[in-house]
Subunit: 272 residues, 3 copies
């Protein structure tokens, strides 16, 4: 690994320390499938989660949060409105907004809602799989629900395109995660296939990125931080567990027990 | 076990292979209590789950799904409307619709919603406990919430009645599961009492039936497939775990690790 | 421990027996983050959970329940209305209503909703952390989301104030839990710091109090029962598990395996 990559591992290790010291409050407007894992993952990494999705309180909740995560996994008219309200307030306050366009490409509602949020809000990070991000840059993806298809090779291309169009750091997650902003590409090779065998690990990745975004304004590094930590935790859990129930439990154990030294030793991050 | 029963075990083992090969997308409009387990169980058995419940997208989502599961566990006016929309679209497209009438008999809203869905939709499978299914055929049940009462002996009777009235395969789950359609009764003896000590195993059963319904149009066999796999997984988990937390984890491990040979060896299915 | 404290341990042990014998149905209108844990915890302690939150059914569901739990963790206009409907019906029927004012103090919507429920309903128990309960008695708390701040020493003061103002038993949970009503203060010293590292343990505490309230009308004792059982289960789980994923599983195992003798041996309850 090149010197500049070692520098990135060190930076991410330092960020993990910062999350645990600052305990950023991560306000999440998210789906009801993986919400519990998103809350527990933020706690495990050292942040504090709060879920609030009513129009009568999200503006105020954003005011006390360090970052806002918008996840369209089970979107509806009511929550689309509140995502926009919360996102605008976060923009006014200069707080990072992280978007997970779950299932973009699968239905027009999801694609259009994600595009609307991209248009109306200044986003810090967008994280999705190759199908979802492709749908947002007008590529004909092959989204089937929230499931990524075999377009890994194009990850960097679509990430760069959406990053240029939106000004956000764009993370396309897959076997190798690719994070693009307007001046660099970061790749994260940590992870394990079992992460695709349980529901919500994409949402958890985004929630962790929210926590890291709460402590640094280099959002590509924040995205790399979340993805490295989740990836290492996945590797460690998969070393012990093969059943998906135990793996899910072990993933949370690994996140909660993750040490700075583990990141220094095990991060596989590469900058281009 | 008679020859025709062995034939059924073989058929179910083969179905499990089909689920893992085809990876059917199971669109679920379900409750927020057990939704995470329903998603993880479908993944564990080899399918792909997607949850979407907004009127603006369910019609489109049904279009890419292999099966639709409707679960009234935490129904409300908004989701009742979208269940009907999604169900009608699935009927137009000839895709199987599986209903879980959670808590029918406990409140008029649940009983009437389940009856309305039975009347308005052509259902592939209805799965409930004896109290719930009894409520749908006008029997005075003793439903207490989502809890079955001591009417096991009448399971076949009410299953047959609802099957005749609706044209669906009707699965009444209990110590022995009974599945009726208009020309046979299938009984599944797999399972373990610990399955009643954690929430959502009924919902999980229905979700698994959804996955199996996505790969075969003999819906009684699909129902048997889901119930045999859940039952064996429950037996295997209970052999190792007695606490309800560990049992829940072990159940998911057993589902994700379930092999075709396990079904051949351990299925207790009987056809009358 | 003084004789009267031993008397309380005995009373709580006896209550645990009563819960398991009576299997009270606990109707919960609660948040979608911790709802699954709340259902499984009520099952583990020996009760039966039912979640229902639509205006068209909550009045009827309260009619068959033994206790009603209102939790504002992800409140919205629709569920605020149904909490009020359900609570009024429970009051008419003389059934206990237990309130968890999650995040009171964090936003005006939460504070005002909790105050409205306190004003409109006769509550059996209110359980919150020091920040939440302080917000309800007009103290300037330092609530940050659902997170308690360093006001432990004032727990008894605010508990007594809210108890006097509302007529409810008020439980302020923390390192030592304090329960106040108009003629005594009960302290529960069971528990473990890991309980604060996973989401929803406050909600679970309230759900367990709901189960105990379903079998006795001394609501301070019911609150102590729920908190002692959760505290002992937390201690036992923490003795075996340090990762937050395993701890959460172990907590449910400990609740489901908790014996009357364990309560007699390990309860740390003190009456002033």
């Amino acid at each position: 690994m090149a010197a500049k990559d070692k520098h990135h591992s060190t930076a991410i290790a330092s960020l993990l320390n910062d999350v645990r010291a600052a305990r950023p409050l991560v306000h999440q407007i998210t789906n009801y499938v993986s919400v519990n894992d998103c809350a527990n993952a933020v706690l495990a990494i050292g942040g504090a989660p709060v879920m609030a999705d009513d129009a009568d309180e999200v503006v105020e909740m954003v005011g006390i949060a360090s970052a806002l995560v918008l996840n369209i996994g089970t979107l509806n008219r009511r929550t689309i409105e509140t995502m926009l309200l919360a996102g605008r307030r976060a923009n006014e306050l200069g707080k990072p907004v992280v978007l997970d366009p779950v299932g973009a490409g699968a239905t027009a509602l999801r694609t259009e809602t994600a595009k609307m949020l991209l248009r109306e809000l200044k986003l810090a990070v967008v994280r999705g799989n190759i199908s979802e991000i492709s749908a947002l840059v007008g590529e004909a993806g092959t989204t089937r629900g929230v499931d990524a298809s075999g377009l890994e090779g194009d990850a960097a291309k679509v990430a760069v395109r959406l990053a240029k169009a939106s000004g956000a750091s764009v993370a396309v997650t897959g076997a190798v995660d690719v994070i693009a902003d307007d001046n660099r590409i970061v790749k994260v090779a940590n992870g394990h296939p079992l992460l695709t065998r349980i529901t919500g690990t994409g949402c958890v990745a985004t929630a962790l990125i929210g926590a890291f975004s709460g402590v640094i304004d280099d959002y590509s590094l924040a995205a790399a931080g979340g993805l490295v930590c989740l990836g290492i935790a996945g590797e460690r859990a998969a070393a012990v567990h093969s059943g998906t129930g135990s793996f899910r439990v072990g993933l949370m154990d690994s996140l909660s027990g993750l040490q700075v030294q583990d990141v220094l030793d095990e991060a596989r991050v590469h900058v281009e």
